[in-house]
Symmetry: C2
DNA sequence: AAGGTCCGAGCAATGGCTTGGTCGCCCTAT
DNA sequence: ATAGGGCGACCAAGCCATTGCTCGGACCTT
């Protein structure tokens, strides 16, 4: 009854193409066990992102996969287990990327710039997960047991990394000292993540453009000419 | 079957104290009809914000008010009607405030500053509504009929107001011209609204402080010294 | 008397999850 | 090579709690 990622089948070993099937009758020699599982997770993630976790029924997920709802429980032991996997995968990737950058970071501004790029960079590959995380954060956290306690843990770790860089930048004299590091971090984070709501992969702007645009505003501001506000 | 705000009782006229009661048996000489109704809406809004619209049951709302679930339907004809009222009230107040500021606006920078202040200013009085709007936006929009079509309409109107001011600022030479107005607006909006997730009324910072902090970063950026990026 | 407010009970639909069984692939021992 | 057992993937059917909502009548105030 811990907060651990449970799975039912312990995974085979073969490697065959996973054939997507609309509403076909049979699974047609599915690929490796975990491959099939991963596929289901992806389908579910899309639905969760589109309709919300609670509004998505296990029957809808099964439909999307061309199987019956009961069959889902061959792979997962609950609906929650599925979101769990969605979010966990995303958070692991994210924190790993941050850590990688911070190991080779130069000055604070460079580090922060890279971190912003990472943030926007995850927008595309993890669009569904980020959406779910935002919309259903409150609900998931409120679930009994700290089934999703790792959400808070991961968030805290990320916050530490950001705040550290901001403070370093202030100490180095690169960033204005009259700003609250934690507050500044939160605003940066929000700006990046919430973009997932309106960002559409094939649209006018790609994530790189978003990142550069924001980096510009973040460091130099909207105004022209000399800086006008108080502080250093 | 339109998208209109339905109500069942057309509201009386008396004015008596609305007594909050835990799980009491009787409603004890309730105040005026519309007062009672408004009270219920507020209770519901809090629950919606905390647990999400769908996760909140009508029984929970009734519990909070000390009545049975069925009795709710003397005031509202559906659960949706309740959120409807929550969101509509908020949006009307918001757009009204924006319009008021824009009528007496000076240059674009002043206008934008005021708009930012308005945004953060609504955080406290409309915390629940803003939370619901963010978390359940996708779901509500997906409901049959354009029951919540006014959500999109209101958003569009607000967007027009912001983008207009940004463009004006660029034309006046106050804002750097190398920024995408629409994109810039979205980032500003996101930063303000999403603050509702971590903002807590009695905390270290009040909404005014938040606003000033953000205004500083927004116009002058994080960096010290001369502006380094391209463009003017 | 009248009207507003709420109770008590319950209905129909929905949703998460179970259970028992089928089908075909793959590995292995003969 | 091949029969056969093991096993993963799925179906069919349904259980059961929950949920939004209904409805007739009781109670209270005016």
């Amino acid at each position: 009854m811990g907060g651990v990622n449970q799975r039912k089948n312990s995974g085979g070993a073969t490697a065959a193409p996973v054939r997507r099937q609309g509403t076909a009758k049979r699974a047609a020699t599915a690929g490796s066990a975990s491959e099939r599982r991963d596929h289901l997770v992806k389908l579910a993630a899309e639905l969760f992102a589109r309709k919300g976790f609670q509004a998505t029924t296990v029957r809808q997920i099964a439909d999307e996969a061309g199987i019956l709802s009961g069959s889902l429980y061959h792979h997962f032991d609950s609906k929650e287990t599925i979101v769990d996997e969605v979010l966990r995968t995303f958070l692991e990737d994210l924190t790993a990327r941050y850590r990688a950058v911070l190991e080779t970071a130069g000055d604070a501004r460079t580090a922060l710039t890279e971190m912003v790029r990472i943030g926007f960079g995850t927008l595309e590959p993890h669009r569904a997960a980020i959406t779910v995380m935002q919309n259903d954060w409150n609900y998931l956290r409120s679930l009994p047991g700290d089934r999703f306690g790792y959400l808070v843990k991961a968030e805290d770790e990320v916050e530490r990394m950001w705040v550290e860089q901001i403070k370093r930048g202030q100490a180095e004299g690169l960033f204005r000292a009259d700003l609250d590091p934690k507050l500044t971090y939160r605003m940066i984070r929000d700006t990046i993540w919430v973009a997932v709501r309106w960002f559409r992969p094939g649209g006018r702007l790609n994530t790189t453009a978003l990142a550069e645009h924001y980096i510009t505003v973040l460091f130099d501001g909207l105004a022209t000419g000399d800086r006008t506000s108080h502080g250093a």
